[in-house]
Symmetry: C2
Subunit: 320 residues, 2 copies
């Protein structure tokens, strides 16, 4: 038994990673931290719903791993909603049509493989932290801030994202940055998300008379010759800097990693954010503020990392 476990450590096993979104179910075979094969389907490809699509994607990847002579040994799933990692159940995932879905149990029953599951933002944070070398003990806390349709912030402690008392930690987008500000979907006024998410920037640009045809990426590029784009972007940077200042004062992180779609803006985002946070925090040293190198695969790679806990558990069980 020990020999087999040691061989697992030397030759990394292949795992199936699934990142479940409201539009697409993305899957991958991951070995030694690298994606070696992919499969992707529209979430509602099956009339039977998202769960059947996930099974289809897993089945394709399992077949691929068999063909390659390296059968996948476990399944890691990242998904939205209120995810309870212990029971493997997902509640209130409105975009997936799930009220209370026993995701892990169903995949275990179908594929006879161990299954790990967690919230997609936490899975992405896990991968972002690992890729930045922040998953070793005593590296100090770090924060991963993905900016896309919404904005969240995961506090990483020894590389593990804080979950919170009810699994809702990290709802950074609903920090109020402008008193009596714009109405947010959450019902509050002046939320960070309303000003600085990719969705918020596009909506505010159009409301201020900007062209309805531009994507958020194009709005960022149009700044030099478009005063409305410049103003909306400046307000987004100011809102984001207010949020990052609060996060820095509260957590004192070693490092802040920006991710998600908006982070593709690169220096146009990073440089003014660093400058504005530096002005606010003149009274203390700044954490390092970086763009995460991971990109859109953060969720998939995080789903693969979730399966590490399964291996540790089964090793412990087999060794006792």
């Amino acid at each position: 038994m020990i020999t087999l476990l040691e061989s697992v450590d030397v030759r990394p096993s292949t795992v199936i990673a699934v990142d479940v979104g409201g539009t697409m179910v993305k899957g991958a075979l991951v070995r030694g931290g690298a994606i070696v094969a992919r499969a992707e389907r529209s979430t509602f490809h099956h009339a039977a719903g998202a769960m059947s699509t996930i099974e289809l994607v897993v089945d394709e990847l399992l077949f691929t791993s068999d063909m390659a002579g390296s059968r996948a040994t476990s399944i890691g799933v990242a998904c939205p909603g209120s995810v309870h990692a212990g029971s493997g159940r997902v509640r209130n995932a409105v975009n997936l049509g799930w009220e209370d879905e026993p995701v892990a149990e169903r995949l275990r029953a179908t594929f006879s493989l161990p299954v790990a599951i967690d919230h997609d933002a936490r899975a992405a944070a896990l991968a972002a932290g690992a890729s930045a070398g922040l998953d070793r003990p005593d590296t100090g806390p770090a924060v991963f801030i993905p900016i896309g349709t919404g904005i969240s912030a995961s506090l990483l402690l020894d590389g593990v994202p804080l979950t919170g008392a009810s699994g809702r930690a990290g709802e950074f987008g609903h920090m109020r940055v402008v008193p009596q500000g714009e109405l947010c979907a959450c019902g509050q006024h002046g939320c960070l998300e309303a000003y600085a998410s990719a969705g918020g920037i596009g909506r505010r640009y159009r409301a201020a008379g900007g062209s309805a045809l531009l994507t958020t990426e194009q709005i960022v590029s149009a700044r030099a010759h478009d005063a409305v784009a410049q103003r909306v972007w400046d307000e987004a940077i100011d809102a984001l800097a207010t949020g990052i200042t609060a996060v820095t004062a509260l957590f004192d992180p070693l490092c802040i990693l920006l991710g998600g779609g908006l982070s593709r803006a690169g220096d146009a985002l990073l440089l003014p954010v660093r400058e504005a946070v530096g002005r606010s925090l003149a009274w203390r040293p700044l954490p390092s503020i970086q763009i995460s190198a991971l990109g859109p695969d953060a969720g998939l790679l995080g789903a693969a990392l979730l399966t590490r806990a399964l291996r540790t558990t089964s090793q412990n069980q087999e060794m006792t």
Copy 2:
């Protein structure tokens, strides 16, 4: 040896706790979580400085413990500044005149007792968490917010306050709640501390034409017949609710404990804060928001709790 250690567990040992402030050095003998004797001196009682005053207070308490036939077995110190618990050194404690003081080393050399030291806000948070039963594993995160001259917020994970990468976690008072707001001592505009600390409330009340003679406590009481007091208080509550909303969204705590001098306002503080936070967070369940039962002894009791780590360490060392 084992017998001796077991007897320590059964009959709790007496420890010396010291809470070092810019005005007073407060000391106590603590046994089984209760204060059994006190000693207190002005911090600059000695021309030789704060360190000599601490030694005087410890010496008095050690003598008292000897007289009671229960000699103190360790010293716990809570103090301001940049405290490095590992080395026992304190840097940049401006109110104490310390640039880089080897506090633990000096007390160990003088009294031949083990010494534990940490930041006063973290020590107080440790005690507040323990008194609320939040120091057991898996109780979920909690936040302790002492509101006095300044405002901080300690994130408690299994009852242990987050330290941060450079020992500065918890600087909640410098979260910006009003864009282009009032100037704070930190150089930023619109900090929470400028609006909602006891000092900030007094200053804003006087600047708005209120009587220069009222204490912050009296300003709170004067609300019913003093429109300026009512407005300044309402703005303090709004600022505090903005901060607590952000903390709740980020940490998802089980419980938020309000402490410090301003928490003596009781329901005048608690009820409007709960209502305003409830309005902001209509999209999610609220954490429990309470006033900490500990009061002004939080720092002292926290200093006593710091010595637990010494006992655990020495038990481990003696048993290996």
